[in-house]
């Protein structure tokens, strides 16, 4: 297993190199300038040039590129002048918000999606199957930002059950944290529920007529137990694949959900940086997101080995 992890990490290096190149290339291709943003529309070129110099933004491209890669070799993503802190520090402050949102959202999708898929497979062709898959399809079709706004309107404004946004640290107030995260995670989870439920149903149906399932039934096991214990176990690998992809999608969705619910995560950091052309933060944010994505894929590969013993023997 260690060999597999080492190989996957090695294979990730070219991916991260390409991401770093693209991230740096963006600074050359996309118009706009942080100094001009700070000064506003009436600023003269002289004003902008003066502030660019003050901020150290007038360094030649090649020098900047050399500084960027030299920093990366030391795991240093650079410094944001606007935030007045290192990019690594800025991202690390916000990463727990984004990761916890993505994890909660995905957990929500798994907890609801897998039983829904199994139920649909158990009642294939019947009204329950149609209803379950219809629900999954609705979740799949709804845009997460719209769902977020509807939840705010219904759950926050009309029912007064949950706060409409903001952030509470779990270390300070675990219950408060759960309350503020419930709606964003729910909105994110509902959009991921569809693929997980559909894949669970499809994978479960594939193994539902296998010999070992028939044997389990012949032993007299109740149908829910057959599905929960035998069918689910055998169907786990494709579900894990979808969950892995879903985590990536949840990370992407978190960028939007953080905007809607005013959560101070990496998504808001990067979007804010894009609007202000804070290039070190954009570059660092992209690289960090890619790294998380690679690590999650690695984790999914490791989970395959856990879920399917046959893979360990290959």
């Amino acid at each position: 297993m260690l060999r597999l992890i080492a190989l996957r990490l090695l294979a990730a290096l070219p991916v991260l190199l390409v991401v770093s190149l693209v991230a740096f290339g963006l600074t050359l291709l996309v118009p706009g300038d942080m100094a001009a943003e700070m000064l506003g529309m009436s600023a003269t070129p002289a004003d902008v040039a003066r502030l660019r110099h003050e901020l150290g933004l007038d360094v030649p491209t090649l020098v900047r590129m050399a500084q960027w890669y030299e920093g990366l070799l030391h795991l240093d993503l650079g410094r944001s002048v606007l935030l007045n802190q290192s990019v690594t520090e800025a991202i690390m402050q916000r990463l727990p918000v984004t990761l916890s949102l993505a994890c909660l959202g995905l957990s929500f999708a798994l907890v609801l999606g897998i039983p829904l898929g199994l139920l649909a497979a158990a009642k294939v062709g019947r009204a329950t199957d149609q209803a379950a898959m219809g629900t999954a399809l609705v979740g799949l079709s709804l845009p997460d930002f719209w769902l977020g706004l509807v939840l705010i309107w219904v759950v926050g404004v009309k029912l007064h059950w949950l706060p409409t946004g903001g952030w509470v640290s779990p270390a300070q107030d675990p219950l408060g944290w759960l309350r503020v995260m419930a709606m964003p995670a729910g909105a994110l989870g509902l959009t991921q529920l569809g693929p997980i439920a559909r894949m669970t149903r499809s994978a479960a149906l594939e193994v539902a007529n296998s010999d070992f399932v028939r044997t389990a039934r012949a032993k007299g096991l109740a149908e829910p137990r057959v599905f929960a214990r035998h069918v689910l176990g055998a169907a786990l690998v494709p579900i894990l694949t979808v969950a892995g992809i879903g985590f990536g999608a949840a990370l992407g969705g978190a960028l939007v959900i953080e905007q809607v619910f005013s959560l101070p995560g990496v998504g808001r950091l990067v979007i804010g940086a894009v609007l202000r052309r804070d290039w070190p933060v954009i570059q660092g944010g992209l690289l960090m997101t890619a790294t998380v994505f690679v690590l999650v894929n690695l984790l999914v590969d490791v989970l395959y080995l856990w879920a399917d013993p046959r893979l360990r023997e290959r």
């Binding site: 996309v30 706009g32 009436s42 070129p45 007045n84 705010i152 946004g165 005013s262 979007i271």
Partner: protein
């Protein structure tokens, strides 16, 4: 020898030291306490007040920092940390008397050394640093006097240094060596609230400064100056990018003040007893800027075709959701420099037949007009979209290029590649004529190509000592803008500020002011 002249409303008039005549009624006595939460769309690009012109920064920094001079309720310049100013007869020496006993949030007493260092830092890194170029020397003859010695006459100096655009924040001398963007956080000022914390992407928090020294030259709050009293224990500025979420927060009471509520939402919530709406009109000019340097719009006949083709009221009605006023003047009515409406009707009435004649005279042959509009501000995009359709109606080919704000800013500053650009001018008309006329003059003109008549108007505005002469310069500017169709003033845009009903004595202003209001 210095002859005592006093500064009032941006004029050089030989009268007694001006003290405020206009102030806000506070009604009953206020009540201390509570954490007021104000929501704003954007987070500040920086809290280094001097370096940024962003409204998102001003909302916060103007609670913490104060300036020597600022603007009153009707946007006229008034003293804040200064007692007043004596301007020499030749207009070259400004002797500014400072208020005494004013405390910084770090406990230090403000002196002329702090004021001088702050102004010199501003000259170096300030968002409008160029306005201090005429200042050749900063002198501090004693601890409560700052003398500015100018190398040339600049009658607009008091208007300039009292502008809150990029505030001339006074900070302790030892803070002034910090480079651009580094003076904050933490912010150390003299304002009624002191900085507590800033969490990017989430919020900034300030607390009532109990050692605040109110300005006893005033009776009550007055614009950004006046006798300020902080009642809230703390004020939290939350950054909430989603408009619907901000409105929902106000409805549920999680937010107490909104810097801006959608006009449509304010109509929907007009019967909600828990919410008070405060429409503010005028808030900004809606304009369509033209590039007189490049392509189709380099031709004055074609620009006149655009001028005649537009139904300005239709643009305003849609772009502002109905909160607008039609006024073609390039200053606000009631202000010192209002140039009036004489002769403007011919330029502001839609006449498609006339527009087609101008097109023909321009030799228009179906070339594509490049309109750049940003998607970051809905009124800009709406105005651009409607203007495009109205121009197509007279047979023009229009390409609407929608970009984000920084890309539009970068595009429009180039001499080529764009023809038309919808823009709301917010703070500039509030400040008076200098930055409105100045936007079209000098090294970086918005229309790209300098216009000699506007340059002359700008020079006269910057040098004439008599108010009437400066007013004439503004009139000259306005006439030229219309005659040469250099830009289109579409109308005046309004905004709605909103509070929970339990926020008492709130008065809307350029930014939501959290002093002199309290919880019921």
């Amino acid at each position: 020898m210095i002859r005592r002249r006093t500064f009032n409303a941006g004029l050089l008039a030989a009268t007694a030291l001006p003290l405020p005549a206009i102030a806000q009624s506070t009604g009953s006595a206020g009540k201390r306490g509570g954490d007021l939460i104000m929501a704003q769309q954007a987070q500040p690009p920086t809290l280094d007040a001097q370096t940024t012109t962003a409204q998102a920064s001003r909302n916060i920094t103007l609670h913490v920092y104060e300036s020597l001079f600022t603007r009153d309720e009707v946007s006229n310049p008034k003293p804040e940390l200064a007692e007043g100013v004596d301007i020499s007869a030749d207009g070259l020496t400004y002797r500014i008397a400072l208020r005494t006993g004013v405390k910084f949030h770090n406990g230090k007493t403000m002196t002329s050394a702090d004021a001088s260092a702050s102004m010199q830092r501003y000259a170096k890194v300030g968002g409008s640093g160029d306005v201090l170029k005429p200042v050749a020397a900063y002198e501090t003859p004693d601890s409560k006097t700052l003398v500015l010695k100018l190398s040339k006459v600049f009658p607009g100096l008091m208007e300039a240094i009292s502008s809150p655009r990029a505030p001339f924040a006074i900070m302790p001398e030892e803070e002034c060596a910090k480079p651009a963007g580094q003076a904050a956080p933490p912010m150390i000022g003299t304002g009624p609230f002191a900085f507590i914390e800033y969490r990017p992407d989430s919020h900034a928090k300030v607390a009532r400064f109990d050692n605040y020294v109110p300005n006893t030259n005033f009776d009550k709050r007055d614009g950004f100056t006046g006798r300020k009293t902080a009642y809230f224990d703390t004020v939290t500025f939350r950054f909430m990018p989603e408009g619907g979420a901000r409105t929902a927060g106000l409805q549920t009471g999680e937010v107490h003040v909104l810097e801006s509520l959608d006009v449509a939402a304010s109509k929907r919530l007009k019967d909600d007893k828990n919410i008070k709406s405060y429409p503010m009109l005028p808030w900004a000019f809606m304009t369509l800027m033209m590039n007189t340097n490049w392509g189709l719009t380099a031709n004055v006949e074609l620009r006149r075709a655009i001028q005649s083709a537009l139904d300005l009221e239709e643009i305003m009605a849609i772009a502002t959701d109905g909160l607008y006023r039609m006024d073609p003047a390039w200053q606000y009515p009631g202000t010192n420099y209002y140039p009036g409406l004489d002769g403007l009707a011919a330029f502001t009435t839609q006449d498609q037949a006339k527009a087609k004649q101008h097109l023909q005279a321009a030799g228009y042959n179906g070339e594509e007009l490049q309109l750049v509009a940003d998607s970051s501000f809905k009124p800009h995009l709406d105005a651009g979209t409607i203007a495009s359709e109205q121009l197509r109606a007279i047979g023009m080919k229009v390409k609407l290029n929608v970009m984000d704000w920084p890309t539009v800013m970068a595009t429009r500053s180039k001499p080529e590649g764009w023809n038309l650009w919808p823009l709301m001018m917010g703070i500039e008309p509030y400040e008076g004529p200098y930055n409105v006329v100045g936007f079209f003059a000098g090294r970086q003109t918005v229309q790209i190509k300098q216009d000699p008549v506007i340059e002359d108007a700008n020079a006269r505005l910057a040098s004439e000592l008599q108010l009437d002469d400066r007013r004439a310069a503004v009139k000259q500017f306005q006439n030229r803008i219309y005659d040469q169709a250099i830009a289109v003033k579409v109308g005046d845009v309004g905004i709605v500020q909103a509070t929970r009903a339990n926020v008492m004595n709130y008065a809307p202003y350029r930014i939501p002011r959290m002093w002199d209001c309290w919880f019921a």
